[in-house]
Symmetry: C2
Subunit: 316 residues, 2 copies
């Protein structure tokens, strides 16, 4: 009973820290962004006044027009003269949208206008999200040997102990992933997208491969870009392979964490279920016998088996 | 070697089907949305012409103004007169934004304007996303007994066999989750948000709890809403508890799938690793001994341990 109390205390601590972390984030974001927002708001007001002064239109009719402009812009339709050429729903763009749905990135730079489109989005994601996760898993399973097991083995054969070997391997993999899936693509995006800085590129890669997908930076949405369809398909391939590598990196991190006892360090205490005779299910799924320290075979919160599965939140 | 070939064939099949699924989605989305988009584009052009005709402003200076209007609207800043009162970066709104970052929902209805904000977003999500997953896991661990194990046990004691018991339980849980986390919130949103239909509410709940977060519908963003901060905090709590329930539902699904042999049915063939003597790691993590059929203890692709972990894609 004492252990149960301790377990709930820890959970309360976690939730409290979560709320504090959100508040901390809120304070920082508020202090950084609020002045910027006010500056933008002020600039826009000045522009609006200037525009109203130089034209004979009144504020009310401008507002009536702007309501439509702003609403349309949310659906990716611009009121500008020169940008009405390319559709957001041609085949490549629609495929790009479908891809952001099933990978749960969801930029939202375009979104379905019609009720039928919304209903189909729900249906499409309901099947697509779990299926995408299945394909990603299948790919990662096949990459585990050449990219994780074989290199660690090689490092061990070259004289390293298992612990430093996994650490060195994880570090190398991390560097390779950061270079190939953050730095290099960011450099490419800086060239391809006129208005993006290198930080914008890194920010886009990070926000995308974390599946946050804010959608403030989306490639191939500028009017008049060359080979737009090919560019969109390339970004789709990048997203898919990138997500795969993020998963591989986490698997590799789990291996290292297990070996270094980090898992045990972060371990969540189990709840007692002594009154449950049948179906004595371990609270933590994937209660496995790891290839390394046998004494750590208890509950492993950092193991993929105990983490909320990616598809968890997705499959409904 | 034959089995390896078969395994790669299956993977190729998966990837092919994935591409076909994307193409299928693209075709449907394109056929549904393109006419809607063209209608919107046409309406906007007509409005633009009308506006230009009734004012003495020329097209070029209107475009110069609209560029700023559209850009600002992407950052959640409206050029309309009446909407300049509430900030997107007050404490509650910033907390809401921080929450959409760490849960990877990422609506993107507001996004950081400054480079400092972008850099902080990366840093914040790097710690926040794995931590959120840890808190979610800890909560779900404690809900497994009262909401999954105990009810299944009760159903078994009332005379049901294990298989129908888990099936009935999963169905009941699904109905409860759909009612409490989709239908009821959608009804509340329909009341709270003037412009939302019930389908919009359902669509918002689904897109949010799948962490897609397109951001075309975001609660508490209309100007002049009462108790905005309280409303935003309520939505945050809804998102957190909703994500928890989605995970619980998946865990429950896994239990049922294991028991019904669905896992074996969807099982991915393993790759052969016969040349690896030491560190013979199962390709599928969480290679556990399940409480049910012992013969299914091999690789379990539908087990959370083998699915790409939610935090996989998030932790970088």
């Amino acid at each position: 009973m004492h252990s149960v109390g301790k377990s709930w205390l820890l959970l309360s601590g976690f939730i409290l820290f979560y709320v504090i972390y959100l508040l901390f984030g809120a304070l920082i974001f508020s202090s950084i962004e609020r002045p910027m927002e006010e500056k933008l708001r002020h600039e826009l007001e000045v522009l609006r006044e200037e525009f109203l002064n130089q034209s004979c239109v009144n504020a009310a009719s401008l507002d009536r027009f702007l309501v439509h402009v702003i609403k349309a812009s949310k659906y990716g339709v611009s009121a500008l003269k020169n940008s009405s050429e390319t559709s957001n729903w041609d085949l490549a763009s629609s495929m790009f949208f479908a891809n952001t749905l099933v990978t749960t990135v969801g930029y939202g730079h375009t979104s379905p206008l019609s009720d039928a489109g919304k209903a189909f989005s729900i249906f499409y994601a309901l099947i697509g999200v779990p299926f995408t996760m299945l394909v990603l898993t299948a790919c990662v399973q096949r990459l585990m040997y050449p990219l994780v097991l074989a290199p660690v083995n090689l490092l061990q054969h070259s004289g390293l102990q298992p612990r430093p070997a996994t650490f060195v391997h994880f570090l190398l993999l991390l560097i390779v992933v950061v270079l190939c899936f953050f730095v290099a693509p960011a450099a490419v995006f800086t060239v391809m997208e006129v208005s993006w800085t290198f930080l914008d590129g890194i920010y886009f890669c990070f926000i995308s491969l974390c599946t946050i997908g804010l959608g403030d930076f989306v490639p191939a949405t500028q009017p008049g870009q060359k080979n737009r369809a090919l560019y969109q398909v390339s970004v789709m391939v990048y997203l898919f392979v990138g997500l795969m590598m993020m998963y591989l990196l986490l698997r590799s991190f789990h291996k290292m964490a297990d070996l270094h006892g980090l898992t045990t360090f972060l371990q969540l205490p189990r709840c007692e279920e002594s009154d449950l005779d049948e179906e004595r299910e371990p609270i933590v799924d994937g209660d496995s016998t790891p290839p390394y320290p046998k004494d750590k075979a208890a509950s492993k919160p950092l193991d993929p088996g105990s983490q909320p599965s990616y598809s968890t939140i997705n499959k409904s």
